[in-house]
Structure formats: structure tokens, C-alpha cells
């Protein structure tokens, strides 16, 4: 983790506990599309939160706002680690819906990129890259180009692209959306192990209800556009979780059914 986030002294004591907080955050695009309407929620540090919602309800928009890529409408606010979010910071890593690897450089060079852009020292970059390739099991493929990777490897590499900066907050926009069920389950477990070790704060957008229930401490459900948060459900299976045991809890099925119902109705 990044030691001593910048400006840690100035932030109000009350905000210290929450990694992310939004208050009445709305987003209206030019042309009048209201994507989000008065979204307020808080995410505590090291919490794993999933967001479920119908397609087009503003999930990606919300993630962009939290990531500092687009501003909230006047009157709302988005805070990350207590600071008003104005521009992308290295505390926040975003894995987008579409993969973002440059086709003209190797997997390794793609993973290094963010560190180079943030001006880390050469030796530090080399060390971090080596570790990440190792953790993500990409070392044998580091000299391949992105189009030579399988879907699962590409998604691991996409994680590598942001983990290199060791962000405290991970914003994941349907990172496993394009994968087959088997690979998806496997990467879910890997993500879980990664998070158990790094204890980052995670917001995961997903369309898979079982995935959300399996991974999360908490699930936020959004309404149709304009997106609002219509349910906030705590999932308190013991940690560490693993597919066999966690999915075997009767409450697991209950949660899935409740959420199915909720999503079906809207």
C-alpha cells in the first residue's frame, strides 16, 4: 500500500473511516441524458462492494465519477479518502469494461506503463513489474503482445496494468464480463486472494448476481436510468471465503433469489 496518502493531515476526522463517499451526486450529460440522480453512499476502507443494476442505468458513469474522470453535477460531491475528487489519483485504479492494452507493446510494457507515467524510479518499476507478473501468473507470457493472449490472461494483464501503482482503491467495471463461466469463477477466486492480501477498497460492477454475493461485503442495487441506489444489502459470510463453502450456505441461495427478484422486477 502507498504509505501516507497525500494531504492526510488536512482531512476531517469524520471522513477518515470511509474510503469513498458520495453525497447527492448526479450526472446529466450534454444533450440532457440524466444518468445518475442524487446518489449517496459511503464505502468503508477495505470494504468489498458490488454494484448491480440494469444495463444503461449509469454504473460506469458512477465509477468514472468516483475515479475522478468526470465531475459530478453542481450540488453533489464525491470524496475519495476524504478529499474532494477532482482528477484521477494514483490511490485509485480503474479496470474498465473494455480492455485498455496498447497493441503495439508487450504485456510487460503494458503493465509497466502506469508506473512510468507516474514517474516511479526504474528499479522500483522493474521490481514491481516482476512481482505483478509473478502474482498474476503472467511471467511466461510477458513478451507476448496483447492480441496473442487468451481472454482470461488479457483480463489478468488488465489488473496488472493498475495494480502496478498499488492503489488503495480498486474500481472494477465488469472485469470478467467477456469470459466464460469457468475462467470467470477462477479469476473471482484470484481476485479474492488478491484482495485478502492487499485489503484494498473495492467497487465491483457486475451483472452476475452469484459473483456479487460470493465476493462482496455489501451489494448496492441501482434502479433503471436515471440511476439511484434502491437497495443496500450486507453479505456477511465469514472470510476467507472459497467457492465450495461459501456457496453452500443456505443464505447464499437466499441472497441470490432476493436479488434475482429485485432485478427482475425493475
Amino acid at each position: 500500500m502507498t504509505p501516507g496518502s497525500p494531504g492526510a493531515e488536512e482531512q476531517p476526522v469524520a471522513d477518515r473511516a470511509s474510503a469513498i463517499s458520495t453525497k447527492n451526486a448526479s450526472k446529466t450529460f450534454e444533450g440532457g441524458t440524466v444518468a445518475l440522480e442524487k446518489v449517496s453512499f459511503e464505502v468503508a476502507r477495505s470494504q468489498f462492494v458490488s454494484i448491480l443494476g440494469p444495463s444503461g442505468c449509469g454504473k460506469s458513469t458512477l465509477l468514472r465519477m468516483v475515479g475522478g474522470l468526470i465531475p459530478a453535477d453542481a450540488g453533489g460531491e464525491v470524496r475519495v479518502l476524504g478529499q474532494l475528487q477532482r482528477s484521477p489519483s494514483s490511490d485509485v485504479g480503474i479496470v474498465f469494461q473494455t480492455h485498455n492494452m496498447l497493441p503495439w507493446i508487450t504485456v510487460e510494457a503494458n503493465i509497466r506503463l502506469a508506473a512510468e507515467m507516474r514517474g516511479l524510479s526504474t528499479s522500483e518499476i522493474a521490481e514491481r513489474t516482476r512481482r505483478i507478473l509473478d502474482v498474476l501468473k503472467l511471467t511466461p507470457y510477458r513478451s507476448l503482445f496483447p492480441h496473442q493472449l487468451s481472454g482470461g490472461m488479457r483480463q489478468r494483464a488488465a489488473f496488472g496494468q493498475i495494480l502496478i501503482l498499488r492503489p488503495q482503491i480498486l474500481l472494477l467495471d465488469e472485469p470478467f464480463g467477456a469470459l466464460d463461466a469457468l475462467t470467470r469463477d477462477q479469476l473471482n477466486v484470484e481476485l479474492l486472494r488478491l484482495w485478502e492480501e492487499g485489503k484494498q477498497t473495492v467497487i465491483l460492477i457486475t451483472h452476475s448476481i452469484p459473483e456479487a454475493v460470493f465476493l462482496s461485503d455489501r451489494i448496492l442495487v441501482m434502479s433503471d436510468r436515471p440511476g439511484r441506489i434502491i437497495a443496500d444489502i450486507a453479505i456477511d459470510f465469514p472470510r476467507p471465503r472459497d467457492p465450495q463453502h461459501t456457496r453452500a450456505f443456505p443464505e447464499f441461495t437466499e441472497h441470490v433469489l432476493t436479488l434475482n427478484h429485485m432485478m427482475g422486477v425493475h
Partner: protein
């Protein structure tokens, strides 16, 4: 078939055009005889090749002259075109001032400028270089601008998210992603540069392949005229091949 096995080592991409060429040559050769076409209208290929061989030193000398004009004009067009494309893309001032002029200028028949250039720069190399430049310039500018503007938005957003500076975004994202398109412009520009130089030689020159075409024409030497045309094709082919070799280093189109 042991006798043919050596052929397998030669790539199809080389054999296929060669076969097509030979078939075409045979048809030409036979057609001229069968249809009784007058030799001063269309000499058989064998005669053209014989003339070309006899005058090989002249052809090489003139090719070198025209080739040099083309290379100078082309290199200037690529350098200038890419630079201007970048400037127009990066600086709105250039977009407002230079761009309209370039578009209007592109609409002019540049061939009509050749006499003027000869008056200004004389019968020597420089007017031909300038013609080659003018013909090749525009596609490079347009393809550079298009390439830079076509950077995928999700990659631009990713660069913003990882805190890349505008300079780094330009250098490490926009330029490489524009290269395939710029390369297309350079490909298009190569034959145009040759046309420009030859057109310049037509209007006023003492040397070069264009001049040789005019001379052969004036002396009713159709075979030499065709030999000169052959030399022009070879020149275009060789220069184009060079561009292709460079273009191969930019392989990430559409990935």
C-alpha cells in the same frame, strides 16, 4: 516430384505475380502479331525489352535523375506533411489558418503549376523536386490528421486514469496509434511523387525519364518510349517496395 521441390522454397507471393506477368507478356507478344498491329503503334514486348537492354545505361542514368528528384520531394513531403498534420492537430491556430489554404490548394490542378515552377526555379532539379513534393504532400497531411484524431477514446481515458501527461499521451498513445494511418498516406504519396516529378520534366527539362519519353516521342521511337515507361514502372515499383519494407514495422493496424 524432386525436380519441382526447389520451387517450394520460393514464396507464393513471389511466384504468383511472376506467373501472371509471364502470361501477360506472352499474350502481348502474340496479340501484336496475330492482330497485325503496326509496330510504331505498339511494338511487341520482345522489341521493347531489346531496346531497353541496348539503352540500359541511358535508362539507368535517367532513372537515377528522376529517382533522386522523387526521393528528395517525397522525403520533404513526408517530413513536412507529418509536421503540418501534427501542428494542425495540436494547435487550433494552425487549423484555422493553414488548413483552409491547404484544402483549397489541393483543389488546384497542381499540374498547371508546373510551368510556373519552371519559370521560378529553372529547368534543373529543384522545380521537379518541388513538383514531387506538391503531389505527395496532401495525402500525408490528411492521413496524419486523421490518424491522430482517430485515437480510441477508451485508451485516452485510460491514459487520463493513470495520470499520463499530455506530452506522454501524445508520444506514447496518439502517435503510435496514428502510425498505421500515416503509413497509408505515405504509401499513397509515393506514386504521386513520381507523377509530380515526371510532370515537371514534361513541362521543362533537359534530363530525366519524363524528358526521355518526350524525346522518344519526338523521334517516333515508340519502342524507346515504351522502354522509358517500363523504367518508370520499375522505379515506382522499387520505391514502393522500400516503403512497404518500412511499413512492415508498423503491424498493429486494427488490433
Amino acid at each position: 516430384m524432386p525436380r519441382l521441390s526447389f520451387l517450394r522454397a520460393v514464396p507464393r507471393s513471389f511466384i504468383d505475380p511472376l506467373v501472371a506477368f509471364v502470361v501477360l507478356a506472352v499474350i502481348w507478344e502474340k496479340a501484336v502479331d496475330l492482330l497485325g498491329i503496326k509496330r510504331y503503334l505498339l511494338p511487341p514486348l520482345s522489341q521493347i525489352l531489346a531496346t531497353a537492354w541496348k539503352n540500359i545505361d541511358v535508362l539507368l542514368r535517367e532513372s537515377a535523375i528522376t529517382g533522386w528528384e522523387v526521393v528528395l520531394g517525397y522525403v520533404a513531403a513526408v517530413a513536412g506533411g507529418v509536421a503540418l498534420g501534427l501542428a494542425i492537430f495540436a494547435l487550433p491556430v494552425f487549423r484555422r489558418t493553414c488548413y483552409p489554404f491547404i484544402v483549397i490548394f489541393q483543389g488546384l490542378p497542381k499540374i498547371a503549376l508546373a510551368p510556373l515552377l519552371v519559370i521560378w526555379f529553372g529547368y534543373g532539379t529543384s522545380s521537379k523536386v518541388l513538383m514531387a513534393f506538391l503531389f505527395a504532400f496532401f495525402p500525408v497531411v490528411i492521413s496524419t490528421m486523421g490518424g491522430l484524431a482517430g485515437t480510441p477514446v477508451h485508451l485516452i481515458e485510460h491514459f487520463r486514469a493513470i495520470g499520463a501527461s499530455p506530452w506522454n499521451t501524445f508520444r506514447r498513445l496518439r502517435v503510435p496509434s496514428a502510425l498505421p494511418s500515416i503509413m497509408d498516406g505515405c504509401r499513397t504519396a509515393m506514386p504521386l511523387a513520381v507523377i509530380g516529378a515526371i510532370a515537371g520534366e514534361f513541362v521543362g527539362s533537359e534530363k530525366g525519364l519524363g524528358n526521355l519519353v518526350l524525346l522518344a516521342n519526338a523521334n517516333a521511337r515508340t519502342d524507346l518510349l515504351f522502354a522509358a515507361l517500363l523504367a518508370i514502372s520499375v522505379l515506382v515499383g522499387v520505391l514502393y517496395l522500400l516503403i512497404e519494407l518500412i511499413a512492415r514495422r508498423i503491424w498493429w493496424r486494427g488490433l
